[in-house]
């Protein structure tokens, strides 16, 4: 068979700028490039010399879709360096803020970025012409998530209320009450979302993934826990760089994260779910079962159901937190900088987000390392496509291209996040 190529010049409905190039010969993928042309922004470099206090606000600007994740990983790393423990209602409020980001970010992906692929629309606005109620429902869910982030964080994009040690101002119990009403409605919508996504048609595609996600003794993971895998990994944040490495892979010109001795791995909702099903609330577990999901999910196209289950969990968890909340006496615990290194991670909507800082005795950052979820997933995306494409070569070119895009969107890739770390391929001809 003749060589054939699939080209997507500008990947749509992903956050950031990227393209895809696949070359096929004799029904084999012989060339593969997930091209990233997002301009580099050098965050790790200009963090040097800045105060530890600025890290949450500066790193938030890496990504407008998941700023809370950056703020959380940053404050945890700093608190780790200074041996500060944030507990009780302050810890709960952080979790509440994170619930808001999960709801907002997952609803955006489920309804506006991913669902149109399943139903054959170019975007959610066109989808709304035939499925107006569904899109409205998605927007209402997204809005609830945004309102929660704004309530705790001050605004939905780049919240201003997060700091190392806690917050600038904490809400009183009464201020949270109206949000609980909205979240109850959102929880109903999320439940409906699980049912709705379960009815979509999924390509037959499963792989035996190496899943990596955080795990906590009694919670579904947001801010705390070890990093575990389905193959026995179980490590603390300070050991991350001993176990994971970045590799330069041919055909891709991008750095890919690998687990040393094991290779590419999968982070994000499907990994989190498959490693933590038993930590979901009873309501979320039940909804997942009814949707036909087992405790482990291996079809990346079904990640849309998994995201819905996680959204339902986040609504449920936010309601639990609000119910048990007592306003703390002080909005933050005191922080005394000291020289040393700090390691932190948290579960961003798209997967584990790792931060590491080295600081001097005044808390000035000497160097920083940030590993976002999308750069960890790139290798798995590539492997998926290498398997996915050969079996579908007889599809019309346009359809195949669209399905490849959909396979990438399974990962909700955030290219803005990954670029300050990716190498760009520059064609100089």
């Amino acid at each position: 068979m003749k060589a054939k190529s699939i080209k997507v010049d500008y990947l749509a409905r992903v956050e950031g700028e990227g393209g895809l190039y696949i070359k096929v010969k004799d029904r084999q993928v012989v060339g593969f490039k997930l091209r990233i042309f997002e301009p580099p922004r050098f965050f790790e470099a200009f963090l040097r010399g800045r105060s530890f206090r600025e890290a949450p606000d500066i790193t938030a600007r890496i990504c407008g879709i998941c700023p809370v994740a950056y703020q959380m990983s940053a404050v945890h790393a700093m608190e780790n360096a200074f041996d500060v423990k944030v507990d009780g209602p302050l810890r709960a409020l952080r979790r509440l803020l994170y619930c808001g980001e999960w709801i907002e970010s997952h609803a955006l992906h489920i309804y506006m970025l991913h669902a149109p692929d399943f139903l054959g629309y170019a975007d959610a606005i066109q989808m709304a012409r035939d499925h107006g109620d569904v899109v409205q429902q998605g927007l209402s869910l997204k809005k609830a998530g945004n309102e929660l982030v704004a309530l705790v964080g001050g605004r939905e994009i780049h919240p201003i209320n997060v700091r190392v040690g806690g917050f600038y101002k904490v809400p009183g119990k009464r201020e949270l009450a109206p949000m609980a009403e909205k979240l109850k409605r959102a929880r109903d919508v999320a439940l409906e979302t699980v049912r709705w996504t379960a009815k979509l048609r999924f390509p037959e595609f499963e792989r035996d993934y190496l899943f990596v996600a955080m795990r906590h003794p009694d919670e579904y993971p947001f801010n705390e826990g070890h990093l575990v895998s389905n193959h026995g990994l179980d490590i603390a944040a300070r050991d991350y760089e001993k176990h994971f490495a970045e590799e330069h892979v041919e055909h891709s010109h991008a750095l890919h994260s690998v687990l040393r001795g094991a290779g590419p791995y999968f982070v994000g909702p499907m990994a989190r779910y498959s490693l933590n099903f038993d930590r979901l609330s009873p309501l979320a577990q039940e909804a997942a079962r009814q949707a036909g999901l087992g405790p482990v999910c291996r079809n990346p196209f079904q990640s849309i159901i998994v995201r819905s289950v996680e959204t339902l969990y986040a609504c449920d968890e936010a309601l639990r937190i609000i119910d048990e909340y007592e306003m703390p006496e002080s909005p933050a615990v005191e922080v005394q900088p000291r020289a040393g290194s700090g390691f932190g991670w948290s579960e961003a909507p798209r997967g584990t987000l790792y931060h590491r800082y080295r600081l001097d005795d005044q808390g000035v950052i000497l160097d920083a390392k940030i590993v976002p979820p999308t750069s960890q997933n790139q290798k798995v995306i590539e492997q998926d496509l290498r398997e996915f494409v050969p079996e579908r070569l007889d599809l019309p070119a346009d359809k195949l291209r669209w399905q490849c895009e959909q396979a990438i969107r399974n990962y909700d890739p955030c290219i803005s996040c990954s670029t300050h770390f990716l190498k760009l391929e520059i064609d100089r001809e």
Binding site: L11, A12, R13, V14, E15, G16, E17, F37, E38, P39, P40, R41, F42, F43, E44, A45, F46, S51, E54, D57, I58, R61, I62, C63, G64, I65, M112, L113, A122, D123, A124, I125, Q126, A128, L139, S140, K142, K143, N146, G154, R155, E156, I157, H158, I160, N161, Y168, K169, H248, L255, P331, D367, E405, S416, H420, F421, K423, L424, E425, I426
Partner: protein, 264 residues
Amino acid sequence: MAKKQKPKLAVWKFASCDGCQLSLLDCEDQLLPLTERIDIANFPEASRAVVKGPYDLSLVEGSISTPHDAERIHQVRRASKFLVTIGACATAGGIQALRNFIDVKDFISIVYATPAYIDTLKKSTPIAEHIRVDFELRGCPINKEQLVEVVSAFLQGRKPNVRPHSVCMECKRRGAVCVMVAHGTPCLGPVTHAGCGALCPAYHRGCYGCFGPMETPNTREMSAAWERLGVKQKDLVQIYRSFNAYAEPFYSESRIHESKIHQG
């Protein structure tokens, strides 16, 4: 009778975090009604459909930081009748303009193992340094109500009602306690462009200037007030040097304090 064509909207991305364009999708209540009056013709983050230009209204997010983008922005200008820059990246170069203060080669080698692959300009610059811009909306991120106002004003053929005064004025209007007077918390509110609704002071925090300088700010007096609160020169450099570091008044003021450090 021929149906009247809806005006065409395009959203463009340069170096940025996507937060400002996300603000458009965050207008959950206004989004679908808006699409009845305007055709979202090019918005890759939200749609794989692309309608050919020219576009009646272009929203441009992000700064110019690569040779390729320095060319692309001219194409965008040519394809756009009315062009609005959204956010600190597009109006001031963004946080990535911190490279403008040092040799960018040092930055590249810190982040990337093989610097040869990286094609980047020495500076990250605002869109208006490259092309004519019809309106600039500030903020990191922009305020979504202001975004809706800009788009509505465009549709109605009037000037957007976006005030150029300071955060300080918004704070007073909101009836918030002045964090500077009451708590001695350093605050950039007096020199920062309004638009956020005085968010930080309402959360008991000093403004950190994410909307950039207001029109003709008195940064000298601002710095003097901060110095009276005990803020050191090196910290003054940093406070002006964040998301709007390359906006003229903040740029010059940070330079003044930098030279003071060097004088000892």
